[in-house]
Symmetry: C2
Subunit: 317 residues, 2 copies
């Protein structure tokens, strides 16, 4: 399938008027696209526009594309009109497999055949969603993080009938619009970010349950400890920097035994040579030749930015 060049995309259709559908619409408007939003019920339009206006205030602060304008938003409750001229479709309807399957059956015919249709689903698989779609090869999962107009992550995976090329095209398009797409090889429950988040959540619940920490203490610990570091470097690279000149290899040698400690209720896997090498190699690649002292300066610059933001707007809890 030959698709439009990502730089030639002009019109994005956003199907669904909830916080996710609205968040996506705000994102694409801010990047200078024409956006057509499909609302299931015309009565949703006022609330939908309030949502967009709220998002817009944030987006203005971060910086809009030169020709970005709220005037380039069209709302309609006619699905054919909403998607017939789309260069890209972002679907964010309720998480109900019946609703999604019925919708993709229609989208399969209404959306021009060379246009990718991406679902914001957080829990359903594209293999299930696409069963009644006549053109399933261009349907992909592209799960954003809330709010989609501020958080860059888009977790992507195809279904059984998805053409991998459609995934690649959509990932390139998201990158062009400032997003951070992550293409997964497998349909893993919870994708990547939700699994990390859920591990934290479950450990927190155990601590609360056992009287080891209150919910407020858990939040204090996160916001003043690991949270700020993770806004700039993920868990692997944070340890790589924490390992000093020796990087990740030093960390694993030093703290490998701690994997046996009862520091959480989650049992760790065996630290095999493969796992060890995979971590060390990946961190070396991510470092792109930067020295330890360059890396720790960058980390500190990130944390200074957080500290300055805290001074200006405070922490929430």
């Amino acid at each position: 399938m030959s698709r439009k060049d990502i730089h030639d995309v002009r019109t994005v259709s956003c199907v669904g008027a909830g916080p996710i559908g609205g968040g996506w619409a705000a994102h694409f408007l801010a990047k200078g696209y024409d956006v057509i939003s499909y609302l299931h019920d015309p009565a949703e339009e006022a609330a939908f526009r309030r949502l967009i206006n709220t998002a817009w205030k944030c987006l203005e602060q971060i910086g809009l594309a030169e020709d970005a304008s709220l005037d380039r938003l069209t709302c309609t409750s006619d699905l054919a009109e909403a998607v017939g001229k789309a260069d890209f479709v972002q679907e964010s309807v309720p998480e109900n497999i019946e609703i999604k399957q019925a919708l993709y059956e229609k989208l399969g015919d209404l959306v021009p055949a060379d246009v990718v249709i991406a679902s914001s689903t957080s829990g359903l698989s594209m293999s299930d969603i696409q069963v009644r779609c006549s053109t399933p090869e261009r349907t992909v999962v592209a799960h954003p993080f809330n709010p989609p107009y501020l958080l860059p992550l888009v977790e992507m995976v195809g279904g059984k009938k998805t053409d991998p090329e459609a995934l690649k095209w959509a990932a390139a398009f998201y990158t062009l619009t400032g997003k951070a797409p992550l293409i997964m090889e497998k349909e893993v429950p919870g994708f990547v970010a939700t699994r990390l988040q859920e591990a934290v959540w479950r450990e927190a619940l155990h601590m609360i349950e056992n009287g080891e920490a209150t919910p407020e203490q858990i939040d204090i610990a996160m916001v003043n400890g690991p949270g700020p570091r993770w806004a700039f470097a993920g868990p692997c690279f944070t340890y790589h920097i924490g390992g000093g000149e020796g990087g990740m290899a030093y960390c694993l040698d030093q703290f490998g035994p701690a994997l046996k400690f009862p520091w959480t209720r989650l049992v760790a896997p065996e630290l095999t040579k493969e796992l060890y090498d995979s971590l060390v190699d990946s961190c070396d690649e991510m470092a792109r030749g930067r020295t330890f002292s360059e890396l720790s300066e960058e980390r500190d610059a990130g944390l200074v930015a957080i500290a300055q933001a805290w001074k200006k707007i405070g922490k929430m809890a």
Copy 2:
């Protein structure tokens, strides 16, 4: 024990010249205290001062206390001289129980009896550290997050012989100096923050091991997804805001069943009425009467600050 008013503290002794000891020294200097650092070996002084100078550049950007000065740092390898005039002692020597016990035996006599001695230990218990100390009632654990001059968290807990009042005094003093102390009721392995961090780390290792995500993908997911939110609101309060008008109660009703999903390898506890109420009540308290729309505006302001920082200095990986 009657102690000096926290506002009358002038001199802080930092025992230990590694990154943690140096980080603490930089922190207290930036807050306008006289700092006496004990170095085990005078030969360490050059590297130690380089460490302080690096930290100072960051601290200048965040803002120094009016009378803060690097000239107020004294280095000595005479322990009695280092701690004899201290109003507060922060100990950060290597994580070796023999070394710590021998040191606390000396500190017990050298440090004025009304002065609190806080250990930066991340893994040893104060009950063990204080066994040979003649004045153990004023010894506490106060575990910082690295780098201690930028991250506010200080996890605190006493040993068997610790006077709870010493913990309270030290927590009040840390708060005065801009830190976020967290007093734990129990000596839990890994405290709170390390347990949360370790849950993420172990889940990440499982994903890498199973070929579900590469280390780089895990980092991309964290930095662009949960990480930035956690720099401003912890996991509990993040869900409280995510629940909209219904807050945490709505989240638990809606996503409670997800605790049974295989979204991580960590098994969740039963969501009992007590656990449910504890979460809901705690989040209501943390909200301090702010409405949902106020809370979501604050969250967005935090994320805008992160987005602006990303634009300026980038993400690390």
